[in-house]
């Protein structure tokens, strides 16, 4: 398999104070392994607190992972000293969720886009400006936008500037962290088309992080579903959406409100809400909400296991083929 980026057993723990003198460790990312294939998009789906954004930032070492490895085209990012890491960053870029927050309010759009070129010695002066004009054309902005400040641009335009900035150092790989969730639906469609178009033209690889399943389904070739810091299911997008193997994925899919009435044949209404990573259950972290959990699920978590061609799922019962998806069972844990 031709992978641009490979993540191996990545962990990110935060120390949190629990009471006056006690400190507790919170596992935001808890042993995640994945690979982004060249020229493809890997979608990472999860709800709030699933650790998907932390994963994205750790992957670029914008946050320091606690353990694990990130390998970019054969180079282990974790072993690189600061200056070599900065040089490598040329090839790995990121687009953030909130475009207004991700642009320096005191820099014009042009300055923002030209900065990475100067930092990596790619272009200076007139050449840099020429290149910025080109990039603006690519992302659907005009030359007139070069001298605007972020507050003079709409949300959609701001995000286009952020995309142009990410493209400026000519990267191979871009982490897109909820790039459209702060934008209106009509603007979202424009940007999704743009991102897909850029990927085709420039041969980019994406890690696309989102809570919006339909957006991920549209963008991604492969999908990894995260719950409480772990990947609980992974597979090719169409297969995974057509036939989810983990109860959580199935519930998540069935919970998406749709605007064509009658699309959901069966809905799984989960109990409760995702637990805090601070008191994650001992067994499978989804067990307390799972309609099909058994005593075993509460006792011990299942790891990702192959589940058919190119598919992985972390579920005891699904692996054993025991689940009748049409019939929730709801087993309470023994005291």
């Amino acid at each position: 398999m031709d992978a641009v980026v490979e993540v191996i057993e990545l962990r990110k723990h935060y120390g949190v104070s629990a009471g006056l003198f006690r400190r507790q460790s919170l596992a935001a990312v808890d042993g995640v392994s994945l690979a982004v294939r060249s020229g493809e998009t890997l979608g990472v789906v999860g709800e709030s607190g699933s650790g998907k954004s932390t994963l994205g930032r750790c992957l670029l070492r914008l946050e320091e992972p606690s353990a694990g490895r990130v390998v970019f085209r054969g180079t282990d990012l974790m072993l690189l000293p600061g200056d070599r890491l900065r040089a490598l960053r040329r090839h790995m870029q990121m687009v953030f969720q909130d475009p207004a927050d991700s642009l320096n309010p005191r820099m014009t759009a042009g300055q923002t886009v030209m900065e990475p070129m100067a930092l990596h010695g790619l272009a200076h002066g007139a050449a840099a400006r020429q290149r910025a004009v080109e990039l603006f054309g690519m992302v659907g902005l005009s030359d007139a936008h070069l001298d605007r400040y972020p507050h003079q641009l709409s949300g959609g335009q701001q995000q286009r500037v952020a995309i142009a900035r990410a493209l400026a150092p000519q990267p191979d790989f871009i982490v897109l962290d909820e790039p459209t969730s702060a934008l209106d639906v009509s603007i979202q469609a424009q940007l999704l088309n743009l991102l897909r178009d850029l990927q085709k033209r420039l041969g980019l690889s994406y890690l696309f992080i989102s809570h919006d399943l339909s957006v991920v389904q549209y963008m991604a070739n492969h999908v990894a579903v995260m719950y409480l810091g772990r990947i609980i299911e992974e597979g090719p997008t169409q297969d995974l959406f057509a036939d989810p193997r983990h109860p959580y994925t199935r519930a998540l899919l069935s919970a998406v409100p749709v605007d064509s009435p009658g699309e959901h044949t069966q809905r799984i209404v989960l109990r409760g809400e995702p637990p805090s990573p601070l008191d994650a259950p001992r067994g499978c972290s989804f067990a307390p909400r799972c309609p099909w959990a058994l005593q075993r699920c509460y006792a011990e978590p299942q790891t990702l296991q192959p589940s058919g061609a190119d598919r992985l799922a972390a579920c005891w019962r699904s692996a054993a083929g025991e689940i009748d998806w049409t019939r929730p069972e709801h087993v309470e844990p023994e005291a």
């Binding site: 960053r89 953030f96 969720q97 991700s102 005191r106 900065e115």
Partner: protein, 279 residues
Amino acid sequence: MGRLAGLSYGLRRNPITIIGLAMLGALVAVALLAPVLAPYDPYATNPAVSLRPPGPGHLFGTDTFGHDIFSRVLYGARIDLIVAAGAVGVAMVLGGLLGAVAGYTGGWLDDGIMRVMDMLQAFPNFILALGIAAALGPSLTNLIIAIGLTNLPIYARLVRSRLLTLRVSGFALAAVSVGNPPWRVLLIHLLPNSLAPVFIQATLQSGWAILQAAGLSFIGLGVRVPTPEWGVMISMGVQQLTSGHWWVSFFPGLAIMLAVISFNLVGDGLQDLLDPRRR
């Protein structure tokens, strides 16, 4: 919306700020034009006109040595504005940099810097300035240093807290991800975006600096008699208060009051103008 249009709109909704700006402008003009405006040499003594009450010849009267108080109040604006600007400048630059380093790096450096700031702030402000001024000896430069050092923690805290927020903002992460080294992230991206509250604080603090300068000079730890400094002038008139020569202390006191008020009005106005939440 143009910045100027926004500014003029903000000012129109806030006439008090305009008054403050006018007062401050007048103060600066007086300081600059003191040699032109003053009818007498502020250092010239004339025993013949000792302790004259305010009147046509001497607008604000004269003191024991026959100094013209009006001329001395005008010259005083120079010295007190220099002290205020100098002290606030020292505090802002040093405090701002310390705060920036503390807020950006975090960890033990942050702890170390902030504990020193705690120690500085543990003393009552004026007592600390008094101690520093006494240790350094009375002079204009030392006065600036003393007041600057005592006000430094305010700026350190301000910049640090702002950087703690900015450090995790999207554009800080973006700056790192496009390949900025740490010093560039701090100096080019974060610091310029944390200056608005610093300037507001500096304006407000300038009024306090004048009060402190006058206070230290009043008790003999600032500039010395017979320098035309407002605090010095008040102290020179104190003995005369009981004998009914009120004008010797009154006019420099009035000048201090007006200066402090104008700084406060402008500072409050800036706060409204620069802080979008207050619009």
